[in-house]
Amino acid sequence: MSDSTDDPTGGPTDDPRAEATADGGTGAGAGPPRRARLRIWRGDGPSGRLTDYTVDAHEGEVVLDLIHRVQATLAPDLAVRWNCKAGKCGSCSAEINGRPRLLCMTRMSLFAPDEVLTVTPMRTFPVIRDLVTDVGFNYAKAREIPAFVPPRGLGPGEYRMSQEDVARSQEFRKCIECFLCQDVCHVVRDHEENKESFAGPRFLMRAAELDTHPLDAAGERGLDRARDAQKEHGLGFCNITKCCTEVCPESIRITDNALIPLKERAVDRAYDPLVWLGSRIRRRRRDD
């Protein structure tokens, strides 16, 4: 491994291979390459450390290109999860200079030529190795959100919905599940103990998606998604500081269009006596 350092502080180390010139790819752009310095997290969670690498960076390249160049020329055992390299699979989530980003969608031109890029795994999740994290927390939370409940009397292929009715939930369907919003949310990022009772923005958005779905028949089965979001999935933890929206690579307005509307729906049920009374009367009339 190129991170053969015994620096107990986890500080940057001088890897002999890393300092060697590395030009492992054909230049993506027409101009001459520049030298880019990266500090990459190597190892597992408790004993890992930042390791320095210097590689060529060509015009038009993204950070994932440089990670691959490091892998190809200096550190063949560097672990990084990636797949589509087009910002659609959500695999290459990491943190660059402390900001959660997709490696494949972060252009090198975003940074100053002499800027050192610190690439670390998502801080909220356990590290498996190097830049690869265990995102199983998210799959566990996904299972806690009750699935879409099909309406009675309609089979597959018989669903008919107006565009204006599905537009809201369609925005949330753009989610690529990169989990950057889960990573940046301070509720779990800074407080591991909240993981048990907080689903995170991605899955509260899922609850909002289903709660606004025109054909979801959860209510007929006794499910109240807004109430569950508040009582079961920790909606009250969210203090709407909008970091989830800031980091979303799909530009989904998570806070404005999912979390706040869900909070308002929860307020309808829990804190608004007029809305509560109105819904009771309407329900009684419907039952009559």
């Binding site: 107990p8 502080t9 986890g10 500080g11 940057p12 997290w41 597992d44 969670g45 408790p46 004993s47 890992g48 930042l50 943190e95 200079n97 402390g98 900001r99 959660p100 800027e115 610190t118 670390t120 795994p121 801080r123 999740f125 356990p126 590290v127 265990d134 107006s162 204006e164 009715d165 301070h186 509720v187 990022r189 800074d190 407080h191 591991e192 103990e193 909240n194 709660d211 606004t212 025109p214 009250g236 933890f237 969210c238 203090n239 709407i240 500081t241 909008k242 970091c243 800031e246 980091v247 307005r253 404005d256 706040i260 509307p261 308002e264 729906r265 307020v267 829990a270 608004d272 809305v275």
Partner: protein, 267 residues
């Protein structure tokens, strides 16, 4: 760069000791927000407690409107109704300011602003907050933020009163109608911004149609929801613009009332 092992980091996370690894000026936005809010709080507190120089015919400071105390200055045709008797020892502004203050304190934008800039929870994205524990808006007092919609209703009523004040601004010092001064222009801009901010509120958006599941069955509410949604996208800008315009209107009235300036008449 500090990367020593974090003492309290869970064993399996990357043991990065630094609170953050950001290299940009992440502190600038919360610092500027805190400075701007503190400046306004300081100015508004001085003006609200001063109980003086809030009326210069035909303009009344938005901090004192409607003026609901017996001790209010007489304003011909103005929104002063003596609902609170002479037993009220404080400034009449304090009777009414609790509603717009509550509206802004519970506003979804201002919540983000003060959580980030005053409470550092978090100060910026990816920057660790300094608190040992976090319970969010689930407990007193922050659970009171759920009362935002009630403050919205109250603020909409106050915005109606401020609209009335703006109409009264089309008079001159002698209360003759059909005149306009620089103050009238200022009040016009202010009321547009106040309404835009009030209507861009997320609770307003929810009331218009957010709670519906089938927009196609409610075309009018869908149209209203669409319009409000466009405004909601600019809620932050409108929050600041209306806050500044309210302060400027009050300052203008103060300068007129203390004879520092005179109101240039346009016609």
């Amino acid at each position: 760069m500090a990367t020593e092992t974090a003492p309290n980091a869970p064993a399996s996370r990357a043991a990065i000791g630094a609170r953050h690894l950001r290299t940009d000026r992440w502190w600038l936005a919360p610092a500027a927000t805190a400075l701007a809010l503190l400046t306004f709080i300081g100015y508004a507190s001085w003006r609200a407690f001063s109980d003086a120089d809030y009326y210069a015919a035909p303009y009344v400071s938005p901090f004192y409107s409607p003026c609901l105390a017996e001790a209010c200055e007489p304003m011909r045709g103005g929104p002063n109704w003596a609902l609170v008797g002479e037993w009220w020892p404080l400034s009449p502004a304090l009777v009414i300011l609790v509603f717009p203050l509550g509206f802004r304190m519970t506003c979804y934008y201002y919540r983000k602003a003060y959580y980030r800039s005053f409470w550092a929870s978090p100060p910026a994205c990816g920057v660790a907050e300094p608190h040992r524990s976090y319970s969010g808006e689930r407990r007193f007092p922050l659970i009171l933020n759920n009362a935002h919609r009630y403050f919205f209703y109250a603020s909409a009523v106050i915005a109606c009163v401020l609209t009335y004040d703006t109409v009264l601004g089309f008079r001159d010092e002698e209360y003759a109608w059909g005149h306009m001064g620089v103050g009238t222009l200022l009040f016009l801009v202010n009321i547009v911004l106040v309404w835009a901010y009030t209507l861009s509120c997320h609770s307003c958006r929810h009331a218009m149609g957010g709670r519906l599941r089938n927009f196609s069955r409610h075309p009018v509410r869908y149209r209203l929801w669409t319009w409000v949604s466009r405004l909601t996208g600019r809620h932050m800008a409108l929050a600041w613009a209306s806050l500044i315009s309210l302060g400027l209107c009050d300052l203008y009235v103060y300068l007129l009332a203390t004879d520092v300036i005179s109101d240039p008449r346009l016609f």
